[in-house]
Subunit: 557 residues, 2 copies
C-alpha cells in the first residue's frame, strides 16, 4: 500500500465531502414519511460532523424547510450543498412556496410563441431559485433536460421541458439562467437523456439502444444548451447505453461521464449521480461499490448512497489500495468548493421573519406567474350547464392518503360539492368500481345517481394507475356518454391522457385539461367549465358553505 499524501482523517473527510445524503424536511424523526430513505437526526448530525458535504431534502412545509436548513448548517459547521428536487417550483415539495405547472406545459406554449415561452421559463427559474434561497437551499435539482419523445415514459413525461430537442434545450437553458441569476446552483438531468425509456430506473435498468448519431440529434442538445447557459451541475442517468459502454450504466461509465460529458461536451461543473439507492444501481452493484465506481467514472458527487458510512469507507479503501486516484477526488473537491463559492448556503442570519419574503406565501409577482402559467396552458372546450341537484364528482387519483393537491376545501372537491355533486374517489385503494365488462367498465350503481363530472389526476404514463388495468378510461368515457351521464371531463397532468380522451368526447360535453394538478389549476379549470366562483372574500358564498359543510367538527371543539 503506497504512502498517502493525506492523513487518514483528511482522506476520510475528503471522501465524506463528496456525498449527498437524504433527510426529511420535517424536523422530527417521528415525522419522516420514508424512514428507510431518510436519515434520522442522530445519524445525520454524526455524518455531517464526519464531513458529509451535501444533503437532499424532501417533505415538510416551507416553514419546516427553513428551520431544517439552518439546523443542518449548524450541525455541519461548514458550508453545505443543500438541494431538493424542486422541478416545478419550491411549492411542489414544500407547502407554502410557489407550485408551478409542470415544464411540459411551457413546451406547448413554445410551439405557439417561442419568445413568450422562453421568458416564462426564465421567470419560472427565477421564482424557483429565489424561493429556494429564501428557505436555505443553494442547489435546485432542475431542469430536467430529457426530451420526452416517448409518451409512454413512466418517469419523465410532464417533467420534461420539451418533446423535441430544440424546445427542451431553449426552455431548460432559460430556466437555468433565471434560477442561477438568483444565486442558486442548478442541475441538468438525467445525462445523457432519460426521455426515450418505457421503463423506470427507480425499479430496473432501462436500456437505450440508440447510436451516437441519434444521441447527437435528440438526447444531447438540451444538455449542450444547459451547459452553454452555465448550468452548475449535471446529474447522471441510470441507463445502459451499449453504444458507449456495453458494461456499465451511464452513472458508472467512464466513457459517458469522462469521455462524453467532460471531454466532448466540455462540461467543467459538478457531475452528480442520480440516487444510488435506486434499484437499477443498488440491485446490481450495491451502493458502496457503486459510489466507488461512480467516482472512478468521473462523477464528483454521489447522491443518496444506501449506506453513507459504508460508502465513505469504500472510497477510502479504494484510494488506499490505489484503485481510485487521490487527484480524481481532489478535482471533485475543488469543483464542489468552487460551486459553493458562487452560491454559498445561507444560514438565515439575523433575518427577523424566518420565512422572509415567503412569510405569507409566494410574493405577488410569483403568484401572478403561477396564475399566468395556469391560464396560458389551460385547454378547454364547451362550458356548462353545471349539473344541479344530485350527481357524482368522480375523481381518479393515485393515492388519497398522500395527496397534497387535494386538501380540505380544494376546488376540485368544493366547487362540484357546491353544485350538488357527491365526491367519489377512485385511487385503487377502495372497493372496486369495476364491473368486469370491458365495454362498460364502471359499475355505475356503486357510484350514485345523476350526472358524472369525471376528474382525472394523471401524470407520467397516463394509464398506469394501480387498479386501473390496461386503460379503462376511453371505455369509461364511451360508457358515460352512452348513458347520457357525462356532465364534464377534467384532466390534470398528462397531455397524452387528455388528447386520447378528448378525441372520444361528444361535442356538447364540456371538458378541459390543465397540466397542473394544484388548487390554482383546479379552480381555473372548473371555472372554465362553469363551476364556481371559487371561495371569495365573502364568507357566505355557496362554495364556501359547501366546502365547510363536511368539516363542521373542525371549526371548533
Amino acid at each position: 500500500m503506497a504512502a498517502l499524501p493525506l492523513s487518514p482523517q483528511a482522506l476520510d473527510r475528503l471522501a465524506a465531502e463528496l456525498l449527498v445524503v437524504r433527510c426529511s424536511g420535517h424536523p422530527a424523526d417521528g415525522q419522516r414519511r420514508y424512514p428507510r430513505w431518510e436519515l434520522d437526526n442522530a445519524s445525520l448530525q454524526r455524518l455531517l460532523q464526519r464531513g458529509v458535504g451535501g444533503v437532499i431534502l424532501l417533505g415538510g412545509s416551507a416553514a419546516e424547510l427553513r428551520l431544517r436548513t439552518r439546523q443542518l448548517e449548524a450541525w455541519a459547521g461548514a458550508p453545505l450543498l443543500l438541494c431538493a428536487d424542486v422541478e416545478e417550483g419550491v411549492g411542489q415539495r414544500f407547502e407554502g412556496a410557489s407550485w408551478l405547472v409542470p415544464p411540459l406545459a411551457l413546451a406547448r406554449i413554445h410551439g405557439e410563441d417561442p419568445a413568450l415561452a422562453v421568458d416564462l421559463a426564465r421567470r419560472y427559474g427565477a421564482c424557483t431559485g429565489r424561493e429556494a434561497r429564501q428557505l436555505g437551499l443553494n442547489w435546485v435539482l432542475a431542469p430536467v433536460c430529457d426530451v420526452n419523445n416517448n409518451p409512454a415514459n413512466p418517469v419523465i413525461n410532464v417533467r420534461a421541458w420539451g418533446e423535441d430537442p430544440a424546445t427542451a434545450g431553449a426552455l431548460a437553458a432559460a430556466f437555468c439562467r433565471g434560477a442561477q441569476a438568483e444565486g442558486v446552483l442548478t442541475c441538468a438531468k438525467h445525462f445523457p437523456g432519460h426521455g426515450d425509456t418505457a421503463s423506470d430506473s427507480h425499479l430496473e435498468l432501462p436500456l437505450i439502444p440508440h447510436n451516437r448519431e441519434r444521441l447527437e440529434a435528440v438526447e444531447l442538445p438540451p444538455f449542450r444548451d444547459a451547459i452553454a447557459a452555465g448550468v452548475a451541475a449535471v446529474m447522471t442517468a441510470h441507463l445502459l447505453l451499449p453504444a458507449f459502454d456495453p458494461d456499465h450504466p451511464a452513472t458508472l461509465s467512464r466513457a459517458v461521464l469522462t469521455g462524453l460529458l467532460r471531454q466532448e461536451l466540455g462540461f467543467e461543473g459538478l457531475v452528480v449521480t442520480d440516487a444510488l439507492v435506486m434499484e437499477a444501481i443498488a440491485g446490481r452493484y450495491g451502493p458502496s461499490e457503486a459510489a466507488v465506481l461512480a467516482l472512478e467514472a468521473g462523477a464528483d458527487l454521489v447522491l443518496m448512497p444506501g449506506d453513507a458510512d459504508g460508502a465513505i469507507d469504500a472510497i477510502v479503501t479504494a484510494v488506499a489500495s490505489g484503485r481510485l486516484g487521490l487527484e480524481r477526488l481532489q478535482a471533485s473537491q475543488r469543483r464542489r468548493r468552487r460551486a459553493l463559492e458562487v452560491c454559498p448556503a445561507d444560514d438565515g442570519g439575523s433575518a427577523p421573519a424566518p420565512l422572509g419574503g415567503l412569510s405569507n406565501g409566494p410574493a405577488p409577482a410569483d403568484r401572478a406567474l403561477a396564475l399566468e402559467l395556469v391560464r396560458r396552458s389551460l385547454v378547454s372546450r364547451g362550458r356548462g350547464p353545471v349539473p344541479g341537484g344530485p350527481g357524482v364528482n368522480l375523481i381518479r387519483l393515485d393515492n388519497s392518503l398522500a395527496c397534497p393537491f387535494l386538501p380540505a376545501g380544494a376546488p376540485a372537491l368544493a366547487l362540484p360539492a357546491a353544485a350538488g355533486l357527491r365526491t367519489c374517489l377512485m385511487d385503487g385503494q377502495g372497493p372496486s368500481p369495476w364491473s368486469g365488462d370491458g365495454e362498460a367498465p364502471l359499475a355505475l350503481e356503486r357510484l350514485g345517481e345523476g350526472p358524472v363530472l369525471l376528474q382525472l389526476f394523471v401524470r407520467g404514463n397516463p394509464f398506469r394507475g394501480r387498479a386501473d388495468g390496461p386503460d379503462p378510461w376511453p371505455a369509461v368515457i364511451r360508457q358515460l356518454q352512452a348513458a347520457g351521464r357525462l356532465a364534464g371531463l377534467a384532466v390534470y397532468g398528462s397531455p397524452y391522457a387528455w388528447e386520447a380522451l378528448a378525441a372520444l368526447l361528444d361535442p356538447q360535453v364540456p371538458a378541459a385539461w390543465s397540466p397542473g394538478q394544484m388548487a390554482l389549476a383546479q379552480g381555473e379549470l372548473l371555472g372554465r367549465l362553469g363551476f364556481g366562483p371559487q371561495e371569495s372574500a365573502t364568507p357566505d358564498d355557496e362554495a364556501s358553505t359547501a366546502a365547510s359543510a363536511a368539516t363542521a367538527v373542525d371549526f371548533t371543539d
Copy 2:
C-alpha cells in the same frame, strides 16, 4: 347617551381585547384549510392592531406554530392569549409534538388503579403544558370536564375524562395541575356539562332537560374539581337548560354564567364562550348580538365571533347605549390581564433552536408517557395467525383526504402490507362497498380475495360514518365470520364500538382496541395481534420494504 369615562378609542380597544379570533397555524393565507373560519393575515394583523386580545390556532405543524405565535405577538405589540384545542397533547393538532391517547382511556385505567390514573393525568397535563409553551401557546383549551354518560354523544365521547363524575373530576383536576405547573393556562369545558347530549351543538342547539339536583349530582362535580385545582378558565356550552334559563343557552345565560358559575361555584377566573360561529348560536342570534349577550351574561371573553369587527362595534354600541355596563367589561379586562401576568406569552426570545426542546419531536420522557398510555389502555384478545399471502386490509375511516393518523408508512398500512394484505379504504367517499343486503352488507367481491383484517377508526358516535348507514359493522362481523374470512379486528377510538363488536366475535378471532388512533397505537395494537415488528433500525426488514414499495417514485426523481 351618557358621557363615557373612556375615550372612544379606549372603549374600542377594551371591546377588542375581549375577543379571541381564529387563525390557521399555517403561515400563508394560501395554506388555510378552512378560509371561511380562519382569518387571512391582513385581517389578522389589522385586528391585532385594533386591540384583539386573543387568538385560537388550528392546523399546521409544530414548526409552523412556533413561527406563527411569534408572528402574532409581533403584530399585536402587546401580550396575547394564544390558545389551541390541544385536548390530546399538542401533537393532536400540530404534527411534531406529543399525540396522546384520548382522555377517556385514562378513565378506564382509573377504574382499576385510581392513583396511577391520576398520576398519568397529571403527566398528560404536564406534557401538554410544556410543549404548548415551547411552541408559544400560553393557554391550553382543556380539560373537557363533561361526563360522558351517554355513549351516543356525538361530540364529547372519548374527549371526556370520565363516564362518571368522580373519575372525570379527579382526572381533569390532575390534568389542570400538571399543565398549569408548566406555566400555561387551562380551560374547563363545556360548562355546565355537555356529556349527556345526543345532538351536536356545532350543528344545532341541544337541550339538557335535567333539574338542579341531577346537575349537582352528575354534570357539575368535575367543574367544581377543576375550579378547586385552580383551573384558569371555564368555557361555556351552547346548550339550553330550561331548569336554569328557559330562554337563553348557557353561553348567553346570566343565570348560568353569573348565577351558577360565578356566584354559586365561586369561580373567579376567565369565562370564555365556546365558538360563537357554531350553528347553535350563530343561527339564532347572529354572532355580533351573541357577543353582546354573552358579555352581558357574564362571559369575559368571546371566542370566534363570526365577524370580529362587527362584534367590537356591537359591544361599543351596547356600552354607549347603556345596555352593557362599562364596569362589566372592565372586570373582564382585569381577569384577562391577571391571567396573562400568571402565564405571559413567550416570544421565543433569543432561543437558538426555534423548536427548543421539540427540535427532534417530543422529549424522551414525553415519548415514554405516550407509549405507556398506549400500552396501558390497549385491550386485546388472541393473537395471530397473521395471514400470509393475498388478503384484504379493510380500513374504515372518516376521510382519507384529511387523515393525519395515516401518513405514508403508517403501521396500519405498512404492517398488513408486509403480510400480503391489500389496503382497501372505506371512507364513504369511494365506490360503494355495500351489497344492499342488511344481513350480509359488504359486497365482498369488490374487496378482493382472502382473509380480511378489519380496522375501524371511529371516535364519537361510533357508527355515524358518512355512508355507513345506521350501523353496518355488527352485520359485517357476522358476515365475515360466516364466510370464514375474518382474520382480525382492530378498533381505534371508541370503546363503545369495540365493546359492541367484540361481543360478536368468535373466540379464535384475534382482536384489539386502542383508544388512540395515532401511529404509535397502530404499531402496538397490530404487534399484539402478531403483525410486525414495525420498521426498525435495520433498513432491509420486510415492513420497511413493504412500506416503501408503493412509493418508489418518492425516493428520488
